[in-house]
């Protein structure tokens, strides 16, 4: 009996410790500039002067990226996409950080950064190509300074760090310098590559911002399976600053990321930003979150919606007429229609194209396989013609 009690006590202590990160979220350490009720608050370290037009532009981004996401989920349900990784709930983290980037800054995304992609000017159809199975990405990263989606968890943080080391070698650090942002999630913080990238960036003093969207869930595993310490506090051990921002507050995400990027450009090295948010939907469309989390949690986070608070703020401060919201909704609907129509009309790639772009020149073996495959396909045409 005593053994059982001791075991229970230990388990309970473990649970208390494991809840630590969540408890921290409500503390003063969370940087917030716009409350869930839409009230503007000041933070001494992050003064933000922002015009009505700029806030309205952010609102427009938020609404449109949510609409693209909504359409994509529907397209997956209708069999037009193989899978989709929804960003629902994370719009502010992505738009706030994405709009903090300068045109010459470079972003390294995971596979869920649809909002950042939008801010960088990437055609949403490129994202749908990937999830439909038409390409593995296929955009030119240098065109919008937005790297390809990376699916292996955390790998891109090292690529981002290497890229930042390249910026240093180009002498592009300084007042007019360039910076890199690496996106990843709470689950990725357990990966070796992410920890190695922290070490590399710190030792090299590389111009990089590590932007962790802590959406509380790595598929079915809650944050307590990844960390006993609040994620942003890990940065200290690696030798650079870490901050936690309300990930559902687009203004705070903008201000905090801007400051971190400028520090990186100025040669002050890396910053870890933990954007505290919540994955409102499933991990991907193949997932069923009702198996592992309570709906009460979801309901609580609904009250912290990243879009609604901006709308309330604009209305409350009379910075926007009701007609503005109607216009944005109409524009989002138009983007949604275009996404839907384009997706349904998207052709499959030519079969022979699977042999393209493996090395910069085709090897004899591959050329032979390509020819063999083409002849095999042709044999069906010949057979058909003979009938």
């Amino acid at each position: 009996m005593a053994v059982k009690d001791a075991g229970r006590a230990a388990r309970s202590a473990n649970r208390a410790a494991a809840r630590e990160p969540e408890r921290q979220a409500d503390s003063a350490e969370l940087i917030q500039l716009l409350t869930p009720e839409g009230e503007r608050v000041e933070h001494p370290d992050y003064p933000l002067e922002i015009s009505a037009d700029e806030v309205k532009a952010l609102y427009r981004d938020l609404v449109i990226v949510r609409r693209i996401d909504f359409e994509a989920i529907a397209l997956q349900r209708q069999g037009e996409l193989g899978i989709w990784a929804s960003l629902l709930g994370q719009e502010a983290a992505q738009v706030g950080s994405g709009r903090a980037l300068g045109p010459r800054d470079m972003a390294f995304p995971t596979y869920r950064e649809h909002g950042v992609a939008w801010c960088r000017g990437l055609d949403p159809m490129k994202l749908l190509e990937l999830f439909r199975g038409v390409s593995h990405g296929g955009w030119d990263p240098s065109e919008h300074n937005f790297h390809l989606y990376t699916i292996v968890i955390g790998s891109q943080t090292l690529h981002a760090t290497g890229y930042a080391m390249g910026i240093q070698r180009d002498g592009a650090v300084g007042e007019d310098g360039e910076a890199v942002i690496a996106y990843f999630g709470d689950g990725a913080t357990s990966q070796g590559d992410v920890n190695e990238s922290f070490i590399w960036a710190s030792v090299a003093n590389a111009p990089i911002v590590f932007f962790c969207q802590n959406n509380q869930w790595a598929i079915s595993e809650p944050l307590e399976r990844q960390s006993r310490t609040p994620l942003y506090q890990r940065a200290r051990g690696f030798g650079f600053p870490g901050v936690r921002v309300d990930g559902n507050d687009v203004l705070a995400c903008l201000a905090v990321t801007r400051k971190a990027l400028q520090a990186a450009r100025d040669g002050q090295g890396p910053t870890l930003i933990e954007a505290f948010t919540y994955r409102m939907g499933a991990h991907t469309t193949t997932d069923d979150p009702t198996r592992y989390r309570l709906s009460a949690e979801l309901e609580a986070w609904k009250l912290k919606d990243p879009i609604e608070r901006v709308k309330q703020y604009l209305i409350r401060t009379e910075q926007a007429e009701m007609s503005f919201f109607d216009e944005v909704d109409a524009e989002a609907a138009a983007v949604g229609s275009r996404v839907r129509a384009s997706c349904q009309q998207m052709p499959d790639p030519a079969p022979e194209s699977m042999f393209d772009d493996i090395l910069t020149s085709e090897t004899p073996q591959l050329a032979a396989e390509r020819a063999e495959f083409a002849a095999y396909l042709d044999s069906f045409i010949a057979e058909e013609a003979a009938r």
Partner: protein, 327 residues
């Protein structure tokens, strides 16, 4: 012509690579002041600076991952993995990212990253310091895999790898680092054999022996021994394992009718197995005997007191050659 060890020939080749392209970088563990544990990068940091010859943190995935990022920024990193058995922390970055990123980007990205790996046994080392993992990389589309066998080609091949716009995994025969030979360090690369070409090292008529890396010297010695027995071995140094120079291989086997593939790696699923399949398919009516493989047994690398039994040597090669005459 200058007499150089293979290690020094690589060093001179790397120096040329750094001189000829300001974007070329060297990165790895202990490559700076120490000059690498095999001294292949000796003196380079002193001459080219710490920004171009980078002593990295001790983490192989980080070396390759950051090299990819540097390549995306326009640099040409030449990475050193200290020993064959330590490449595996980087295996994920090499296979899932380096090899596939060009394909993922539909050709918009190029990744000129060279990964130097000292490989093979015969030096009496502890575990993980004597392995031959080349087949794992040759099996992965999107990588070029090469191995040098002597100082002269070490000098040219490392420069060609550094200048190549594709990822190249460059296997260096560590037990041959101190072999000496004449190297033309004044000559340019124009006269050099292309990186993906095999080299007919010893012409012969009776049996084709294919090899690479540390086995090149052993096979050349076997050819001399066999000629005393009245057998003419054609020794081909493959040099490139992915892609394979099948044209040279098939031409030789069509001539000799016999083929033996020699490598230090285990034979199961190895380069020899691939060659045997291709030769059987393309040279079936020319073959007098099945293609034989001489390699390590399919065990983990044994403690070094056993390695002379484990590794192919001159006698095992000659034994296989003799067996091809038994059909």
């Amino acid at each position: 012509m200058t007499t150089l060890t293979l290690s020094k020939a690589l060093n001179e080749g790397l120096r040329k690579a750094l001189e000829s392209d300001p974007k070329a970088l060297i990165m790895g563990e202990d490559v700076g002041k120490l000059g690498g544990v095999f001294r292949v990068t000796d003196g380079l940091q002193k001459d080219f600076g710490e920004a171009r010859v980078i002593d990295t943190p001790l983490a192989e995935s980080g070396i390759i991952g950051t090299a990819i990022g540097l390549a995306l920024r326009g640099y040409r990193p030449i990475c050193e993995i200290q020993f064959d058995g330590f490449v595996f922390p980087a295996f994920d970055q090499i296979v899932t990212q380096l090899a596939k990123m060009r394909y993922r980007s539909l050709g918009t990205v190029r990744l000129p990253v060279t990964i130097r790996i000292p490989f093979g046994g015969g030096i009496g080392a502890v575990e993980h310091h004597s392995e031959s993992p080349e087949a794992l990389f040759a099996h992965t589309p999107g990588l070029r895999v090469v191995s040098c066998g002597d100082p002269a080609e070490a000098y040219t091949m490392i420069q060609q790898a550094a200048a190549c716009d594709d990822p190249v995994v460059f296997f260096e025969p560590k037990r041959r680092y101190w072999d000496k030979a004449e190297v033309d360090v004044e000559g340019g690369l124009a006269a050099a054999l292309p990186l993906d070409s095999a080299h007919v090292l010893v012409p012969g008529t009776d049996v084709t022996v294919l090899c690479y890396g540390p086995m090149v010297r052993t096979c050349a010695e076997a050819a001399v021994a066999a000629s005393n027995d009245g057998k003419s071995i054609e020794v081909i140094n493959l040099r490139s394992l992915a892609p394979l120079d099948t044209e040279t291989i098939f031409a030789s086997v069509r001539k000799t009718g016999r083929c033996v593939v020699v490598h230090e790696a285990v034979v199961t699923g190895g380069i020899g197995a691939e060659i045997a399949a291709q030769v059987t398919q393309e040279c079936f009516y020319n073959l007098e005997a099945p293609v034989l493989r001489v390699g390590a047994y399919s065990t983990p690398y044994p403690p070094s007191r056993l390695e002379e039994h484990y590794l192919p040597d001159l006698d095992r090669i000659l034994d296989a050659v003799d067996r091809t005459f038994g059909y």
